[in-house]
Symmetry: C2
Subunit: 478 residues, 2 copies
């Protein structure tokens, strides 16, 4: 009828993980390519995952006193240039608007890659006294970064995110808030997405452009590559000075405020796919799954089956995100595969014999376990099963992180570890950026972070052998 | 300390309504101007109104089976040009991205002014059989329209909105859905924002670029000017043909789908300000107010006052959106004015003598009524009072619409009516666009809509005197 780009089947996850990933994204209808190179559309099933992340995160932010607002999507070139490191970091990857309303603009405007500069300008206008502090504001929006190589969710020229920007009276308070937001991110990723995180500080090389320090929650994917889950930055007065964000302090003197920013993005959808998926497709943690359970009637043409299925559906709907599959053109077998591929945590099979025995068969997506459950108990038991799946999925990921974390005392061990068992490599480090670069050139791994939980693995840097300052975790990354 | 742009006082609403409006927007901290001409920032208090609108609307959309997704913010020029009327309508007011990642683009990309073209491209890719229909998708996003004259919320180069885009198997179903969404808009504006609407069909001249028919919910502001609250468009196959959105129908034949789109925007915040405000400032309907009640302790330094106020606050917080004003640098009188200006529906005054008598004083923002309420009954009674305010505010608006609606049988009456009592003018009309133009040139009024509820006011067109086809409502507009 017309050219279609359906994926016929899913690539084996162990053979070609990158291809497996793209297959899942397209076939489970999470996202699709568009007419604009490097830009995707997030389809309703993928977007519903994002909505669940937003809902959970937004509630947490508000519990911390954060309020949402909306800043302009376009930033004048002169504003972007006010903070030296910041413009160096972002200018190469922005998109420029040069014409508006049929006329060439006097000054070109970039589509925001991040909004430190525009928040800072408004904060300078709004702030006058210490009594007004802190400003704890956030926006949920789209940003553009003109990446050369793009992949749906992981690296896209446009992505959706939230960017929180705060200013505080003291450095201590700002630092504390930076870490509080990092804890919120850890909570989201571990408790909602069932992915364990590694918390720590980025090395100087890996810091955000313009930050004083950057903190991160790192995650490990199925193939042993790391993915940065979210970052929280402490800026000190790096922006408040050039942007003139000052206030009258308690002593009646002028002082520059202390600033933070922090963000998570639709990248997290990519993390969910790559942390949990398997050869049958997507595997969604119940708490974030748009559909937590799907009812598939078996022998739907038999008397009373459809009616009973609909009755069960309506009851469960009051408590769970549940779907019923009444499509007539597909067999139950097809439907089982289809919903497994889409990662729905629980399938409820209901056939004539089940109905006779006032029961149904509940099938778990995570471990394929089949459980007979009385229809009278289903509403109650389903909640327990979903909680159990959430817990098991987290544990499975935590087990992988443990298996894929190794220690290296020298570069040979480092290379060997990565080759045999790609994942996190823990080493001691001298603190020198040159060693980071050398390790990257040799192994392809970058420093993930200087973990908050330090261990003493020796006293020498894994690279140069000079006295070590800290323990660092390394890994190849997305 | 630094240049501030505080508004010192509010302009009289009857003397200069436009200036009064800007004063409220800035002083109540709903929005602010930014470094980019024509672009505003929506501040947290204004954004919280938008969040309440979003929450209410999104729930309604989902009850109609609509699902959210995200489409790219940039649209290639060639796509925009596919539908002739559409490009003519929008091309003059778009912003063009010409450079990305340091390189000039092969084809320039516009920042979306609306997304019919990009939705249509994806729908063409996704649709194959009648079994998949309807597609009922929506996105909450930002759009850009390079307006010459801008005003916060009402006409801004960037605004936030939702745009729903659906395709259907039959024309009837699509038309029905177009009107269902119009009813959702009427519900939002009347029940959430307490503003009565006039429902009808736009004349051909006032239709959306590329639509077959446009339906509208019109509202009337304090000064008698009309504001379009939301529109819902039926496209027929105007886009599905050039964009090749076809499917195999029930007879196994190829057919083009039938399409709709519909949107409401942050303009509605402007409507709330201008429909309800008065000389003391903003007046927010309780259902959409970010703060429904504010507790202002009186003689806060006296023993037990602050503690009791906090106790009441905590109790109310479980059921209402409530705030407590414990600022020490301001007097109760200042606080009363401040919260009135910010439109908070209810103020709760609590002083030492009130506490002695186990009561408080509740002051209504809408009619200044003061009510003594026992602290034991406050939690219950507050709900009733808020409901009552919501109802009264709607009725006050409805009364104004009634007073400001006149009938005209000829152009002299038309001009006279508008001069004496600006508002809606009802007339009969021949259906000719020339008469619309003549009326606009003469009176400044445009056709608001052909109301669903028709009345017979005679048999001649108000303008040319030829046989009339329909009754039309006219008005000067925002």
């Amino acid at each position: 009828m017309k050219e279609k780009e359906f994926v016929k089947e899913i690539t084996n996850i162990e053979e070609d993980f990158a291809k497996w990933y793209t297959d899942i994204v397209l076939k489970a209808e999470l996202a699709d390519y568009t007419a604009v190179k490097g830009f995707i559309t997030i389809r309703p099933y993928g977007y519903a995952i994002w909505e669940n992340i937003q809902k959970y995160a937004d509630k947490k932010f508000k519990e911390h006193g954060v309020r949402n607002l909306s800043m302009p999507v376009l930033i004048p070139e002169s504003l972007l240039q006010k903070e030296k490191d910041h413009v160096e970091g972002f200018a190469p990857e922005v998109a420029w608007v040069t014409t508006g309303g049929g006329e060439e603009l006097e000054e070109r405007l970039c589509v925001r890659p991040t909004s430190e500069t525009i928040f800072s300008t408004m904060y300078s206008k709004w702030l006058s006294s210490w009594r007004e502090l802190p400003f704890l504001y956030n926006q949920w929006c789209n940003v553009l970064r003109w990446e050369k190589e793009t992949r749906p969710f992981l690296r896209s020229r446009e992505f959706l995110w939230q960017e929180g920007h705060t200013i505080h009276e003291t450095a201590e308070e700002a630092k504390k808030f930076t870490l509080e937001m990092l804890e919120v991110y850890a909570d989201i990723i571990e408790n909602l997405l069932a992915i364990p995180v590694l918390k720590g500080k980025k090395t100087f090389t890996e810091q955000f452009a313009g930050a004083d320090s950057t903190y991160t929650v790192e995650t490990l994917m199925h193939d042993g590559r790391a993915l940065q889950g979210g970052t929280s930055h402490y800026f000190g007065q790096n922006f408040t000075k050039p942007f003139d964000i000052k206030f009258q302090n308690r002593e009646g003197k002028e002082e520059y405020a202390y600033q933070t920013s922090w963000g998570i993005s639709t990248r997290l959808i990519g993390a969910v796919i790559m942390a949990h998926g398997d050869n049958r497709g997507l595997k969604l943690p119940p708490k974030v799954a748009p559909i937590q359970a799907v009812i598939v009637p078996v022998a739907m043409h038999k008397e009373g089956v459809k009616e009973k299925a609909e009755e069960v559906y309506k009851e469960l709907l009051e408590r769970y995100r549940v779907e019923i599959d009444l499509r007539e053109q597909y067999s139950p077998g097809y439907k089982f595969n289809d919903w497994e591929m889409r990662g729905v945590p629980v399938r409820i099979e209901l056939g004539p014999r089940d109905i006779e025995n006032n029961k149904c068969v509940v099938v778990r997506r995570d471990n394929s376990e089949k459980i007979d459950i009385s229809l009278d108990e289903l509403n109650e038991k389903l909640g327990e099963i979903l909680e159990n799946i959430q817990k098991s999925m987290y544990e499975a990921c935590a087990k992988r992180v443990k298996e894929k974390t190794t220690i290296a005392h020298n570069l040979e061990e480092f290379e060997e570890n990565l080759k045999n068992n790609q994942g996190y490599v823990k080493t001691m480090w001298c603190g020198d950026a040159e060693c980071e670069e050398k390790i990257h050139d040799l192994t392809g791994a970058k420093s993930r972070c200087i973990p908050f939980e330090q261990e003493n693995l020796g006293d020498k840097c894994v690279c140069c052998g000079k006295p070590a300052k800290t323990m660092v975790v390394w890994g190849r990354q997305y």
